[in-house]
């Protein structure tokens, strides 16, 4: 027997118990990006760290801390230090700290490195927060509601799906290569060497799959001239939410102006 509550869930707007998750996806993105923009105008690494902490708090408020922190640390701890090292080692400056061949570490370089690394933390924060607090389907729903064409939103949705697909398939191929004795664990070079033979089956598969997928979508009347309907839907954005988002935007704009003036 089919679950009545499950079926009824399609008869009312998709809502969770969490106020933050219930925000319209576009409003979420608005808030995250507005927060991120602050960093560009202040240029202090301390500000970047504060914004990063705000993102972590938002993840907590959305009840998504667990799913947020893992990917955030993984991404942030790779990209952040990378930018730090590149800046710190190669940036020319007055106050030499260490010099050996082309390596030229200066105080200015280190300062800039910290600045860049923390900005990258903010960027990673935005990306991961979007993925854990926004369902792709809800995003495309709200995009279509503001007039984005159906096929554009479909493209967004299927490219997001493609990324997930590629990630899953990479794992499958890597596993099978490991079982055939190819090293896939170890330092960066071992990993890169193992990754190269994965690429060709991966992309060939993706391309041939794409052709059949086009046919499959055609069979589902994707090209239909009728305006499409939505089984799953979101509530119209409440007035209070609109006001809240505008207030947040004004506040952030104020902060930015303040930062530029100071």
């Amino acid at each position: 027997m089919m679950d009545e509550t499950f079926i009824n869930s399609y008869r009312s707007p998709q809502l969770s118990k969490n106020w933050l998750l219930n925000l319209n996806p576009l409003n979420k993105i608005n808030i995250y990006i507005a927060l991120g923009l602050i960093t560009l105008f202040f240029q202090h690494w301390q500000v970047n760290v504060v914004i990063t902490l705000v993102f972590i708090l938002l993840a907590v408020a959305a009840g998504c801390f667990k799913s947020f922190i893992g990917p955030f640390l993984k991404l942030g701890l790779v990209i952040g230090p990378f930018f730090f090292i590149v800046r710190a080692i190669f940036w020319p400056g007055e106050n030499m700290i260490f010099n050996y061949g082309i390596i030229n570490i200066t105080q200015e370089g280190i300062d800039l490195g910290i600045q860049y690394a923390t900005i990258m933390l903010v960027v990673c924060g935005i990306l991961v927060l979007c993925t854990v607090t926004i369902k792709a389907e809800d995003l495309t729903y709200s995009l279509e509601k503001i007039g984005v064409p159906h096929n554009v939103s479909f493209m967004i949705l299927s490219s997001l799906q493609l990324i997930i697909d590629l990630k899953d398939k990479t794992k499958v191929i890597m596993d099978s290569q490991r079982s055939r004795g190819i090293e896939t664990e170890g330092n960066v070079f071992v990993r890169i060497k193992a990754f190269v033979p994965v690429l060709s089956p991966l992309f060939l598969g993706a391309i041939s799959g794409a052709e059949e997928k086009t046919i499959a979508m055609d069979a589902r009347a994707f090209s239909s001239a009728n305006p499409n309907t939505h089984l799953r839907f979101l509530r119209p954005t409440p007035a209070l939410e609109k006001i809240l988002v505008i207030l947040v935007d004004i506040l952030i704009l104020g902060l930015i102006i303040l930062g530029v003036v100071l």
Binding site: G209, A219, R220, A221, S224, T229
Partner: protein, 286 residues
């Protein structure tokens, strides 16, 4: 007027050296179930793609001759109109899942959303096919994480939900176990009762013998034999064409060669049973 008609149709894939379909002439009638059989690489899938309007618009290549669907030449059909007239379930179940829906329920609803069906009707229609296909237990699952057989059923449900007049079905049971296979055939039978015109490619010959009204045999792009199912299978020479014949048809043929033919040539078990019981009772009477 024929429902679907092919006149002198030949087709060659781009860059191919030989025609994949060679001078095919055939008229399909409304409401019948057609079995399409033949060896691997014979051109069955190409035939389905043609009817579905994917040839030449999607694949390119050279198409000569004419294909009429409900009296209108296929090149004149809008692809969207064709999508709501012909449902296509194809061989590979893995690419038939859209990949963009989070539950099987939503996956089945996708085609209806695209057609612009209202929400309450979508819900009704999805519930109906879900029951028909016995996949109630899957509705909440993520369609991207189903087994091959489960995907095949979901793909089937997604197309049936669209309620097209014509169904082109290419090996719907390749991933299914015996139970799943007989379930699908039960549904195909039901769809036929509802008046749908069905073109079915299937290697499981006993099922074709049981369900198809007419059979088409395609070999190397040619339509080598066609006719009423019992007539086609009563010709054992078909075995030389790389086509299997139902065991029961072979038995009927053996009986004929032994000089003791059945009154009517049996190709399914139930037909044979009837004939044998009849012969038995005749013996007792004499």
């Amino acid at each position: 007027m024929s429902y679907i008609e092919l006149k002198n149709v030949s087709y060659r894939y781009p860059l191919a050296e030989a025609d994949a379909l060679k001078n095919i002439n055939y008229a399909f009638e409304e409401g019948k179930l057609y079995g399409i059989i033949g060896e691997n690489g014979g051109g069955k899938t190409t035939f389905c793609d043609l009817i579905k309007g994917l040839i030449p618009s999607f694949y390119g290549g050279d198409l000569t001759g004419e294909v009429f669907i409900k009296g209108k030449e296929i090149r004149e059909w809008e692809s969207s109109a064709l999508a709501s007239t012909i449902g296509y379930i194809f061989q590979n179940p893995f690419t038939q899942i859209s990949g963009i829906k989070e539950t099987v329920f939503e996956e089945i609803a996708l085609g209806l959303e695209n057609l612009g069906v209202e929400r309450e009707e979508i819900i009704d229609r999805v519930i109906n096919v879900v029951k028909q296909l016995k996949i109630e237990h899957l509705v909440k699952n993520n369609p991207n994480k189903l087994s091959g057989g489960q995907r095949q059923r979901v793909a089937f449900a997604s197309i049936i939900a669209m309620e097209t007049d014509i169904l082109v079905i290419d090996e719907p049971t390749s991933q299914l176990d015996p139970k799943g296979t007989s379930d699908i055939f039960e549904i195909i039978h039901l769809l036929k009762e509802q008046g749908k015109t069905i073109l079915l490619v299937e290697h499981k010959i006993d099922l074709i013998a049981e369900y198809a009204d007419e059979v088409l045999v395609i070999k190397q792009g040619e339509l080598i034999t066609n006719g009423k199912t019992s007539d086609v299978f009563s010709d054992v020479n078909l075995l030389n064409e790389g086509v299997n014949i139902p065991q029961i048809a072979l038995l009927s043929n053996d009986m004929k060669e032994q000089g003791k033919p059945f009154d009517t040539f049996a190709i399914t078990r139930s037909q044979a049973r009837e004939q044998i019981l009849k012969k038995g009772s005749e013996k007792i009477c004499h």
